[in-house]
Symmetry: C2
Subunit: 136 residues, 2 copies
């Protein structure tokens, strides 16, 4: 019963650590005046990507991608280009989108607690534990 409580508290601290990571991310992208989801989306766009695929990668609803795409298009970082299947829109980085993506990437990696606070061995341990937690 004490073990039960310790486990619950560990869960609370794990969530706290994750919130810290998210706060670090938000702070890192502050200079770019992008919303967090838009910055996340940028990082997931290498090749031109169907909006539907992006909603899978972000694990969010398709309708939310419309919103993110509007933001990124409004800032000139992507274009919507029609796909072969004419229902599909591909999101494609513009020149300035490519530069912004690189800036975001540099900012968030420079600021990464996981790398700054953990040794390689510790990261491997953590990776394993996280996999156990996520495993069916």
């Amino acid at each position: 019963m004490d073990e039960v409580n310790a486990s619950r508290e560990l869960g609370v601290r794990l969530v706290q650590a994750a919130e810290r990571l998210k706060a670090d991310f938000a702070e890192a992208i502050l200079p770019f005046e992008l919303s967090v989801p838009a910055a996340r989306a940028l990082l997931l766009m290498d090749e031109p990507v169907p909006m539907r695929v992006l909603s899978d990668r972000l694990t969010c609803d398709q309708s939310y991608i419309t919103r993110i795409a509007d933001e990124l298009e409004g800032r000139g970082f992507i274009q919507r280009v029609p796909g072969a299947d004419r229902r599909v829109q591909l999101l494609k980085l513009t020149r300035s989108g490519i530069r912004m993506r690189e800036s975001v990437f540099a900012a968030v990696t420079a600021n990464n607690r996981v790398q700054l606070h953990l040794s390689r061995a510790e990261r491997e341990q953590l990776d394993h534990l996280v996999a156990l937690l996520l495993g069916d």
Copy 2:
């Protein structure tokens, strides 16, 4: 540079694991028709507690505690009782609040991934790694 990427992806998975924990919590309390923050607050109320103290424990603004207290009071789970300092309101569990708190506690511990998926040794490892991540 590959290590940089691996660290970032590990961070993403860590956040995913935390969201899973949060989703488990939300699912566990579903039968009780409590909001997540109200359920969290319940778990933090043992003795009658000043609203201000509760806002520290939940790390949220005081104004949000008013909202949570309204919900819990509306459901009959707490009473506001005046403190010695007459600016202060203590939140105090009612009989039915005590029972609800026990139900919530039982539901969320029965459902705890950290305990279900990790051995004691693994939990200790995780605790250590989380402390490193949170450390200044």
